[in-house]
Symmetry: D3
Subunit: 249 residues, 6 copies
């Protein structure tokens, strides 16, 4: 329940500023879903499942295109203090909405909806335990679930044998400036202290899908922005390697 | 995605009628909660966390008694087909309500609220994967989380050193009659076929806390009821042993 | 507004332990519904109406089967203290959900949905005044409304002339142990004091449809369970006679 | 279920244009509420209960004034076709809101809130059966429940012995023009046919509290308005006599 | 933020009792809607837009008739104190419902739905600033938006060239008795002080569509009612002239 | 209702790629709010009001700090097609939530909450008409309303005479790449066609508060990101001048 303190200048868990937390991905965790992954970024654990349905929502019918969407949620005691369930409150909070939309956009950016055909894939990212970076872990794990759901659709004949539905891979990482130092993959206690906080979603080829930088303390300048983007690029490159290793295993 | 068929007379997974599925309990799964357990009844997996708060709801203040309550929920793709999230629908379904209330009553039956003192323990049971018996797995796992949360409260000084807050242990199992044969701990495909379906919650000493029997097909008679209760008693006895083994480890 | 006290050992209203409260049924109370009954178990008064519709919900269409469902609710001042309306709160409580589902299951257990044909009957049970046993009164009264709605459907030609849509009758009663004595048909002040509380739904032939026993105080053993079930059986037998007398009048 | 047709010029139930339907009031119907009345205007039946609470809502605290408010609702099968419950829909409809507010305003118009003291009376008007004029029956019956709740408060010492909390009586009736003829107390089938429809709430002394006239078909002129108001006045005078007779019995 | 006081007998803004506030109508304010008007009654400002859709709601399909409906709402800071948004509260208040329904009825009273054909017009009246009389300004402005939307439908060929969809014009005004004096078009500070308050909706020809009189203080008599209706008639006549002038410009 | 087409390479309204739309700000539009501005970015019109309250939410009480928050919403017919009201749907959409949060964060970044003292300012940004860039117009206009609300608080003595509550100014603009050309302040038809879309919030001194870049079509590289940020910087500089001019007038 208590959080270890850390000396000024170092990181809470002894990492170097440009080091990811230990990353693990359990591919195919679920026996029910068409694709799934239980991903950990340190103590942050997100269960990602992909549900494949033949057919598309009504507004997309007959256009020869598929649809990918995502929903993000957190278990009530994923965090240090228990939160009320959104189902009990009867409404979804702004943060949940925002992250669900971000995950959906990130995955659609690497999907060729024409090649996917009139099929729908719903990605659920449920945070079982939270210690910072839940949205970036969710995106990184969702990609694994997505790949397997697409493969499932191909095996069942819903997607063409040679259709290249996935244009690239996608992964995400958080970066932030703490005490003037740009740092990679912030744990919760770091996130709280960051002056500037940025979530970066990139493709395996190193292009940007989404850049969301926020001044939590003082506004930031172009030089700081550049340093953070570079750090994020190196983090995503490493995550891309881990994703690739997971998918060949 | 597909369910293997099973021959008439046997069970889907080769068990004898009076055999539990493989039961595993990962005590202390969460690094955030005061007590937690990830419990499996075969492919059914439920994450149970216990959140301890010093103090009680307003309606109980000043009576020198504690409060234990529970919430049950299912991830959208815990089941074979994806369900809409209750948070998205904006309302909690009747089944969810019913099971949450059952878990809460079951745990309160073994709690001495005076000995607990003015403290609140909220149990969250989130079904990560569902294959029948989610409510009975939830109760059985919740007990482990509850024990650890009570212990946590004692260590922090919120509960008296010698206060006996837990009066007994509690576990639950489902039983049902399929093709005329009483069977223990039904998997989902069995549950669907059962003529009579019963959930039994019992204490470690073998007394009943809750008996819920429902005629799904034809009404049942006293003889069938007795057979089911006896089978449930043997199942709960075995679960009680597993709980005890978990708690000494 | 005040509740008369009662001596230890006797009952609040002078009944013997195995005696029902005065039961009255006003069949056909409503001039609007296809079937209706205003039933009283002592001061508990429930208005039951049955609404017959030709056709079934979409998920059942084309299967040649009918559908019976139920909704239970309480007027805000049915009880001693006024409760907020669920419509004002914008959500249905767990207790309401639970009882609605119980009534629906109980009625479906005596319906041959094939013989009913593709017709829907919705039973509404609205508690006008509550003094314990509202769910058992609701089930017992709902049966009368259901019989008349089925008859209405037959007269209008929606149900086959010789189709035996009703397989049996159904009634329900509460039983409980108070100060060690099993008692039948608990009034509210008795219900509050009961150590064990059980609602039993049975057919006219004496078979069980639903058995719901809950330890409110200490857990109970098999001997107590058996005593309660026997008492419930005698109560339901008497209710079955009253139902039959109502239906011939 | 079917509605008898009626000849042009007469009324559906043989009444003269200026005749009320049979009015009955069962004072003290509820054994739970501080005041209550089951009122019938023909087949329209409304259960009115008054709940007395010592104290006022927070926004009124410390001003030495009481509060009277009302809620109106209809059982789902009060009408010829079943309506979905507002609790199930999760929201209150505009018509319900409108009528609840009208009843509340009508009752507050005859209350001296200073004489009432810091007490709250909530009136619930639940329509058990509807055949036109439910809001006017509700207001007329609510007055009886209100009188008894005020009396209850006086007996319990919450209201001063000589405080004149009720300034007058209140009753209401609907009037409308059908085929050019002004008619009193419209039944449902008449209400549907009315060109102009008006609900009039008046005090026992014959003054207006609320006049709500609506052109359902063609707009109406001052002469028609005057004719309707006169007819309403005679109807309310008769209702006032019935209320007075009820309160002396 | 403060409200200037006004001497007894005169009006807050120096008007005579039978004088309207300055009325302005900006026809075609919106570049998006098929019809629109920004109307001011003094400091009360309401944006009215009309949205034309070819087709009607399902329940009206195939009857050869059109549909006109309205929604009223207030910006959170339209008033002196900020109100919570109804979207944030998750429910629409009774007052909003009541006024939306009033506007819809008022507009439908001058529409020949057969001549409109199977088309739907939705009127949105959003109060940007409120100083009393928002519902009457809304109705008066909505008429302008409605006229332009009907004209748009005619130009697009959805309404027959010679179909007379509008039977008359409609406008509304509030009247009230303050210190015994009937006054026209009440500003907010006057509305609060009025003993009797009436909203009157009339056609351009001077017939009544809706009369809603409420005793805020003491009940009122027929003589007062007549005085208010006459004052309202003169106010609506003036508004009708302003509407006509707006529509020829 | 129709959208004029535009030739390849130019802009829909004849602007150069680095040109803002006509910007107008009506400071003090509302006579009710403590600060207000009606801002236009071309056809996009947003009414921004600031509501000042002495005191803070409970969770902030006693910390000597103030609070600034924002709510964004759109009138149903602000857009070309009418949208259902969020109040009618009973829930706030993800986009609304996301933008409300962005506006709140942007304003808090330039507020010294200690200097503000224990006061709360709620900013409401209601889009009266939408043609792209509603969130950037909202932020830019909200700043004006905020300045005036802070000034109002100072005049009333709620904020210290010399307290520097505002650290800087804030404005925002959208940028995007269309047909390979970076363009400033996108109108709706441009926004739809943009491959990459970015919203940039900056201080008057030229530092970043929020950078949100999204690949709508193909992912983007660092060079494109840099070009967009530079263009945004020039746009915000121009908006800052307009804000300053507004505040001295």
């Amino acid at each position: 329940m208590t959080t270890p303190s850390h000396e000024q200048g170092g990181r809470v868990d002894g990492r170097t500023p440009d080091e990811l937390r230990p990353i693990t991905i359990e591919r195919g965790w679920s026996t029910q879903a068409e694709g799934s992954a239980l991903i950990s970024f340190g103590n942050t654990k997100v269960l990602c499942t992909a549900s494949f349905t033949n057919g598309v929502p009504r507004w997309l019918t007959g256009k020869g295109k598929g649809w990918v969407t995502a929903e993000y949620a957190m278990l009530p005691r994923a965090t240090n203090d228990r939160s009320d369930r959104e189902s009990v409150k009867g409404r979804i909070g702004g943060r949940t909405h925002e992250i669900s939309r971000l995950i959906g956009r990130s995955l659609r950016a690497i999907i060729d909806t024409k090649a996917l055909g009139e099929n729908t894939i719903v990605i659920d990212c449920d945070v079982l335990q939270a210690d910072g970076g839940t949205r970036t872990a969710a995106i990184t794990g969702a990609y694994i679930a997505l790949v397997d759901a697409v493969e499932w659709g191909r095996e069942k004949g819903f997607i063409g044998k040679n259709a290249k539905a996935l244009l690239d891979s996608v992964a995400a990482v958080s970066v932030g400036i703490i005490d003037g130092v740009p740092m990679l993959d912030l744990a919760y206690v770091e996130d709280v202290r960051a002056e500037t906080d940025m979530n970066v979603v990139m493709t395996g080829r190193g292009l940007f899908i989404e850049v969301q930088g926020t001044a939590e303390g003082a506004p930031f300048d172009k030089r700081e922005l550049d340093a953070l983007l570079e750090l994020a690029g190196s983090g995503v490159a490493r995550l891309t390697e881990i994703q690739a290793a997971t998918l060949v295993s």
